[in-house]
Symmetry: C2
Subunit: 205 residues, 2 copies
DNA sequence: GCGATTGGTTAATGATCCCTAACACATGGG
DNA sequence: CCCATGTGTTAGGGATCATTAACCAATCGC
């Protein structure tokens, strides 16, 4: 009955179904919130019904956990990669902004779910996600402090969170404008904000 | 039995209880989400138990509705006031940023609830809140376009949402730093981002 | 060809939750 | 003095939901 060929085979956990469930769940969670989507809703949205999901995930919370852990792992890996690609902290910052804005434009639902439904995670995966997020933030903090050595760690952290809020605003402005222009605008805003954190000096390049 | 004097009187709807409920509900909703807080939890948090809340609100959704409508009305009123206080669009923008950052620092729970639980509102109050929010955004859009006439309305809207994301990042950076320094930093970031939206010119004052 | 595994079904269970009902009690105006 | 009103209580109903149970079809390794 499955639409995709080979989906019903006896291969250990058909990967496409899992991905499909995770993708549809992200969209539904983003729209209605974790508690606003029932297992039955989720099953119906992928074309199966209700308890079939337990063949792929041990429970609803485990599904959310995998989703959020994937997101933060993806962001951390991308951040580390961008940060290692250059020695110039300004180039690193530009690459980090590019990476974040691309993600925010490509996957706005994941942005929404990640910070809205983190609280609905069981303690253990929540700690995991928090650690990954903190590590990702530290990449930004280090770059910002290399660009501006006068910056305290705490100020850099606040600035980084502010930049995330700015770049992750994509879900709030449903636009049909070309994503390239939106990306350029958000990149520019983040860049000017983050490279002028202190009143006057610390600019020469 | 009530702790506050005069709280049990036959005065039409003791106002303190309502305010207390709304305040506690904001904190609980911010931490656990609308669906993550039961009527019993909410009652226990204010010292009464369960169904007593129905003496003050017709239902759980109505409580959320009043909360969100209050927030967006407060923001809109404040924005209109700031925008009317000057003729210079740059002064207006500075006043708007001040207002928003003050609110975001003073009431981070309301910031969280407003954009997280809007989807849990019944259709009618949701439309109301959306309209109020849109009107508030338009204030910012007008100011931004007066500062930079080259800006399209859509670009200005994206920039405004980005600025909100930046300024409303306060719940994400739990800081014990002085709020004055945080406010100054966020203000500066928003200001530099919003006054450099286009590549080169359009600056002279 | 066959049997174990994978992925699906419907029915049932136990918990939780919003809300209503029925009742209690203090207070303040007439 | 008394009754109407505001505010609280506990008990229960009806709905929803996550999860488990029991069962079934198809497929791949052998």
């Amino acid at each position: 009955m499955a639409a995709s060929p080979g989906a019903g085979a006896a291969v250990p956990d058909s990967p496409s179904r899992r991905e499909q469930i995770l993708g549809v769940a992200a969209q539904l969670f983003a729209r209605h919130g974790f508690h606003g989507v029932s297992i039955a809703d989720l099953g119906a949205a992928v074309g199966v019904s209700g308890p079939a999901l337990y063949r792929h995930f041990p429970g609803k919370e485990a599904l959310l956990a995998e989703m959020l852990i994937r997101i933060s792992e993806h962001l951390l890996a991308g951040g580390q990669e961008r940060a290692a690609a250059s020695d110039d902290p300004r180039e690193m910052l530009a690459a980090l902004i590019d990476f974040q804005v691309d993600f925010a434009l490509r996957e706005p639902e994941l942005i929404v779910v990640q910070d809205r439904d983190l609280a609905n995670l069981p303690p253990e995966p929540r700690r995991r996600v928090r650690l990954l997020q903190r590590t990702y933030v530290e990449i930004w903090v280090d770059v910002l402090r290399r660009i501006n050595p006068d910056l305290t760690a705490e100020a850099a952290r606040i600035a980084a969170h502010g930049a995330f809020g700015l770049l992750n605003s994509t879900p709030h402005s449903r636009t049909r404008a070309g994503t390239a222009e939106v990306a350029a605008l958000l990149h520019r805003m983040a860049w000017t904000a983050l490279t002028n954190l202190t009143p006057a000096e610390s600019r020469k390049a």
